[in-house]
Amino acid sequence: MARVQLSNLEKVYGGAFKAVHGINLDIEDGEFMVLVGPSGCAKSTTLRMVAGLEEITGGEIRIGDHVVNTLPPGKRSIAMVFQNYALYPHMKVRKNLGFGLKIAGRPKAEIEAAIQDVARILEIEPLLDRLPRQLSGGQAQRVALGRALIKKPGVFLFDEPLSNLDAKLRASMRVRITDLHKRLKERGLSSTVIYVTHDQTEAMTMGDRICVMQAGRILQVATPRDLYNHPADLFVASFIGSPEMNLIDGTLSPDTIHIGGQSVALAPEAASRLDHWPEQIVLGVRPQHLRLVTDDGPALDATMTGAEFMGHEVNIHALLDGKPIVSVTSPGEYEAATRAGDRIRLRPDPLALHIFDKGTGRNATRPALIN
């Protein structure tokens, strides 16, 4: 069992700067948990506290059944993959892989067998007699992964492991890591993962659940789908999803949302999901839910300022009452709509509106099936 529980975890630097504000997080055995947030949100600090590389100043960390607050990293049943690989530069790949087991005092034959096993899984057998400086970035990262894997730890900790790789390699390593996690799970091995990243694509594609952090606090913990469909507040709304969700200031009356001089009808289904009725609101509409239309139905008038052709879709940048917004549309719709010029009409999907309380920043819409 390698469930990880953080209770009221705090980190204060030098008695003054509070980096982590008493966070609570429960990570199930075998779960792939992604900590995501902008730089400086203390996601790495949190991970390093779980690893034991950073002392905690308050609260409790449990791994399995043990409180590990003061245990050294080597005794926590964890393995870590670092952003810059952190391979031992003077040791060949073989020694790098076996070092942890050697320190643990395992017999040589067992270490050698484990090295061969891991090298086969990660396809690094031809690299075993090379030094780290003779490896490419992707190879080095696989060795770093192997060094974690070989210890058969309860918890894998990943600290932005893919951010030093190029885009193509990153995509393939993403698949490799999730695959590996699945295979470990199938084999019945303990395989809890805590994965830190600032890249939302990694977070969305890899995590069983995602924990969004900002300024040392947890804003929302949810599955990728829930996070996308029902962001708890304005920050999560703008952080998750690409292009970013359009956030437009407005006011709310019983059946209408007023944005500047224009208005959007509030569908009864949407209205029924509001848990309260804030007057000052921020309307959130994902670019994918803002359709470019050419018919005469109700829609928002906007001025197009630019378009990015992505192949299968077009990102349209426009000004709505002087505020920049983005809409994602198909190339066909784009061509039909722009034949008339820069004036375009955008229609938000009435069931995909998010209404945020401007005062608190919280999402006032209750979750529903929004697709």
């Binding site: 080597g74 391979l87 031992y88 003077h90 942890g100």
Partner: protein, 294 residues
């Protein structure tokens, strides 16, 4: 077109010629200055093969009648011991001192570079302060201390301060070098189960190797050339290192046998020169990465 290509060719030729002239001037100046610096050394080697009479008669460095007499007689010395004995003494001083320096300075530098402890800043400040303190200032208190300990006329006063990281310069150099190495590898080692000491032995020391080699080389050369330390603490001739032994041959003869002194001087600087040239690569690497990058 032809005009243009002709002009281009002319410009290229002119540029090449200018480069050649400038290179020639640069190398000529470098060679001249280098020769001025090296001449005493070259003269020393040449003169050690001359007869006593020729040393003062002939200013050139090529001996007219090369002789090994200076080496033969110089090696025998005017004491009951041969010069080999003094070399052995030097070795006995240098080896423990260098090893002690490497070990103690590594430990202290590791502590300063990687750990937080109370009064760290003040303590590191005092290390730097020692660096700025002239050596001479501490000679008398040190002498009295070692006299009271009964260590006079032993090698202990020469070994012990270095074995306790007394050479602030080396500590400083290693700290700077360590600061330039990211701590990730050490963290990886801790996750792999190493304690601080294992991390030091398995990870830090191998990464520190270039700087450590420089430290050992510096200590070797400085100790080999140290005259004042042995002069103050050693009084029996049988414990003299080569630096004192050279002076000995000047003291004990009425008319100085210069060719013997010069011959032994050549022998004295030989080990340092050999070590320097063999380890030059590490030496430069250690200084540049430790001193400049840090």
């Amino acid at each position: 077109m032809t005009d243009l290509s002709h002009m281009n060719a002319m410009q290229t030729r002119r540029r090449l010629r200018n480069q050649k002239i400038s290179a020639t001037i640069r190398y000529a100046v470098l060679f001249a200055v280098g020769l001025v610096m090296l001449y005493p050394l070259i003269w020393l080697v040449g003169a050690s093969f001359k007869t006593n009479a020729e040393i003062f008669a002939n200013p050139g460095f090529i001996p007219s009648e090369p002789t090994m007499e200076g080496y033969r007689k110089g090696w025998e010395t005017s004491t009951p011991y041969t010069f080999g004995r003094f070399f052995w003494n030097s070795f006995l001083i240098i080896l423990p001192k260098t090893i002690g320096t490497a070990i103690s300075c590594t430990l202290v530098a590791y502590g300063f570079a990687r750990f937080d402890f109370p009064f760290k800043k003040i303590l590191f400040g005092s290390v730097i302060a020692i660096l700025l303190l002239p050596n001479v200032v501490t000679r008398i208190p040190q002498y009295i201390l070692f006299r009271d300990l009964g260590w006079l006329d032993t090698f202990l006063p020469l070994w012990v301060p270095s074995a306790l990281a007394g050479d602030a310069f080396f500590v400083f150099m290693l700290v700077q070098f360590l600061r330039s190495i990211p701590p990730d590898m050490e963290e990886a080692a801790r996750v792999d189960g190493c304690n601080s000491f294992q991390t030091l032995i398995y990870i830090v020391v191998p990464m520190l190797a270039p700087a450590l080699i420089s430290v050992c080389l510096f200590q070797f050369m400085w100790t080999m050339n140290d005259f004042l330390g042995p002069l103050i603490y050693l009084s029996s001739v049988d414990k003299y290192p080569v630096s004192l032994a050279l002076k000995l041959s000047i003291d004990t003869t009425e008319a100085f046998e210069w060719n013997r002194i010069l011959a032994m001087s050549v022998l004295t600087i030989t080990p340092a020169l050999i070590v320097f040239f063999v380890a030059q690569r590490y030496f430069i690497e250690g200084i540049s990465t430790g001193g400049v990058k840090g």
